[in-house]
């Protein structure tokens, strides 16, 4: 990647973020403070890791609508293991991640076995996982408290452990995409499934592993959310899939597959988070928040269209 490419690839989104920070900085009293940036860093780890998984899913030309409810299920499994079964923390976390992995593998297997569109299969999983969450929690908020809160309190340089973990996931995700066979094959599969298969890529195994990755990252996000809130909310993650898809598409990953960047998805997550925190700092009404958020999402995607044209020129 040459210098000019790097500039156009990352600069546009960084400019949007800088613009938003500037607008909120001048229109509120205390937005430009360490507290705001700590808030954002504490709140985005779950969105970051889900966006990494979603980036790979979109790159292979799929979509995963189940991430929000798998997040909720992961959080519920963790809460119930800790509170009702009184299991040690590492075991509970393992159960949480295994649940997400299982959901993702199941998604992938159903998709490749019957050649079904991932849209409908993961829509089914969305319902199944939230039903399972209600059964598991008996539709009640599971109060966990201290044992899980400790995970979020471990900090260095004022940053929480989940945030550092999420950064590690983003870095590893970008490396996997641009530096490994797995990433190159995923891009090839998304660009043209038939020619990918003919060139000897094991497309079915690849598809299953991408959905498995998305599932396990969604449950990791569930663990992060549970540790931040100190409780498992049976309604956690409702609508989270759309937020994740928006962040990834803002980052320039194509909904048609074959093109994408994990780091840019991370920028997409930051844009949505800065907007949410900024509008709340302003004290904006719910109607205004929705109008502005919707507008910025579309504007960012239009910006991406021009960035792309610039790159081709």
């Amino acid at each position: 990647m040459n210098g000019r490419r790097l500039l156009t690839d990352y600069m546009a989104l960084a400019l949007v973020i800088a613009g938003l920070v500037l607008i909120f900085g001048v229109s509120t009293q205390n937005f430009l403070q360490f507290g705001t940036f700590r808030n954002i860093a504490n709140q985005i780890p779950d969105a970051m890791v889900v966006a990494v998984g979603m980036t790979f899913v979109l790159i292979i030309g799929g979509i995963d609508l189940s991430v929000g409810s798998v997040l909720g299920l992961g959080s519920a499994v963790l809460g119930v293991c800790l509170v009702r079964f009184e299991l040690p923390l590492p075991v509970a976390i393992a159960a949480c991640l295994a649940t997400g992995l299982a959901c993702g593998i199941l998604n992938g297997l159903v998709i490749v076995r019957w050649r079904l569109p991932s849209f409908i299969v993961t829509l089914g999983m969305l319902e199944v996982a939230s039903g399972a969450t209600y059964i598991l929690t008996q539709s009640r908020t599971v109060y966990v408290g201290e044992p899980i809160e400790r995970v979020s309190e471990v900090a260095a340089f004022g940053l929480s452990l989940p945030f550092m973990l999420a950064i590690a996931v983003v870095v590893a995700g970008q490396f996997a995409l641009s530096g490994t066979v797995f990433g190159r094959h995923a891009l090839a599969l998304g660009a043209n499934a038939e020619s990918a298969r003919l060139s000897g890529i094991r497309t079915r195994a690849l598809t299953v592993s991408v959905f498995a990755l998305s599932g396990v990252l969604a449950s990791l996000a569930g663990m992060m959310q549970c540790s931040r809130l100190g409780a498992s909310d049976p309604n956690a993650g409702i609508g989270f899939e759309l937020q994740a898809i928006a962040a990834v598409v803002i980052g320039g990953t194509s909904l048609m597959g074959g093109r994408g960047s994990v780091v840019n998805s991370f920028f997409g997550v930051i844009i949505i988070a800065v907007l949410a925190v900024g509008l709340a700092t302003l004290g904006a009404q719910e109607s205004t928040k929705r109008l502005v958020t919707g507008g910025v999402i579309v504007a960012a995607v239009i910006l991406d269209y021009y960035r792309h044209r610039l790159n081709k020129a």
Partner: protein, 317 residues
């Protein structure tokens, strides 16, 4: 559509094991027991689940007096399905319908049809819209809590812990929900009455994570904030999590609404000041008792208020 609804109904009755199915046939010679249909909102919500369980327990204890058929909908927005349920119950010939409407306007027409067919209709939880009821020329009694009064009770207690002029913030429910609007009004009544300054009021969409995000921003912008008033308990938990990451637990007081068990834990450890108990387990029971009374006496419908009680560290079991 009708077929689906009927199939779903049969499925629900089999799975749900509503008391009515276990009650067995009435003794020969005795007058037939009234059958009462309970039509709920989303059974995925702790509050309505508790309500339904309370009704089932009541029926089990009074199985000689009436039979019960319970139904719920998938989520609180599934208005069409609830209208179908009302129609189904009328054609099944129940004597009374006790309903928690998913929409305070859209359900009025279905309830009128039921009344026209001679079915006693009692409205619980979410009040049907007065203007629409008047326009249709019907009266349906409402049995339920006064959300505005409950919210004011909690906020009045909070005011005793604050100084006049202290800045406070409100976390609202979904902006379109009637009970959420009432709770916000109740909070405002108490805070304005006690001379507090409401510096911001925003929606937390009833959700823990959303409220967490909103409250985190509120305390950054208004570091002098002394209290956060939340329109339900999930959002109060989200608020406490935000205070914890800003190391402000105890400095900023939090109140909630609903009395869920997770919040009772937080009241014990002092991070939440108070919540409101609406006796969810009794709400549907009040409606059923009222319906039985109306079947017997044919009395003219009047509204009946159910209790809302303050829960604090002193009376939290």
């Amino acid at each position: 559509m009708k077929g689906t609804a009927a199939a779903a109904l049969v499925f629900c009755v089999i799975l749900g094991g509503c008391g009515g199915q276990n009650a067995g046939p009435a003794a020969p010679g005795a007058p037939a027991k009234p059958r009462i249909a309970l039509i709920m909102k989303s059974l995925a919500n702790e509050f309505f689940l508790t309500m339904e369980q309370g009704a089932k327990n009541h029926q089990a204890a009074h199985s000689a007096e009436y039979d019960l058929i319970c139904n719920g909908i998938k989520d609180e927005l599934d208005v069409n399905r609830q209208i179908q349920l009302v129609e189904n119950m009328v054609s099944q010939g129940v004597q009374a319908i006790v309903i928690a409407p998913a929409d305070s306007k859209a359900l009025v027409a279905a309830c009128k049809k039921a009344q026209d067919a001679g079915v006693v209709v009692v409205n619980i939880d979410n009040k049907l819209d007065d203007a629409v009821l008047a326009e249709r020329g019907i009266k349906i009694p409402f049995v339920g809590p006064d959300n505005r009064k409950g919210a004011k009770t909690a906020a009045d207690f909070l005011a005793t812990k604050l100084q006049p002029g202290d800045p406070v913030a409100i976390v609202e429910g979904v902006p379109t929900a009637f009970n959420g609007i009432q709770r916000k009004l109740g909070f405002e009544d108490a805070m304005n009455g006690a001379g507090m300054k409401i510096v911001t009021s925003q929606s937390g969409s009833w959700e823990m994570a959303k409220a967490n995000q909103v409250v985190a921003a509120m305390i950054t912008e208004h570091p002098e904030l002394k209290a956060v008033l939340c329109a339900n308990d999930s959002m109060a938990l989200g608020a406490v999590a935000a205070l914890r990451s800003a190391s402000k637990v105890g400095q900023v007081l939090v109140i909630g609404y609903d009395g869920i068990s997770a919040v009772r834990e937080r009241i014990k450890d002092g991070s939440i000041l108070a919540t409101i108990e609406q006796h969810a387990d009794q709400l549907a029971v009040f409606g059923i008792e009222y319906a039985l009374e109306m079947i017997k006496t044919k009395a003219a419908p009047a509204d009946r208020e159910t209790p809302v009680d303050l829960v604090t560290a002193e009376n939290n079991p």
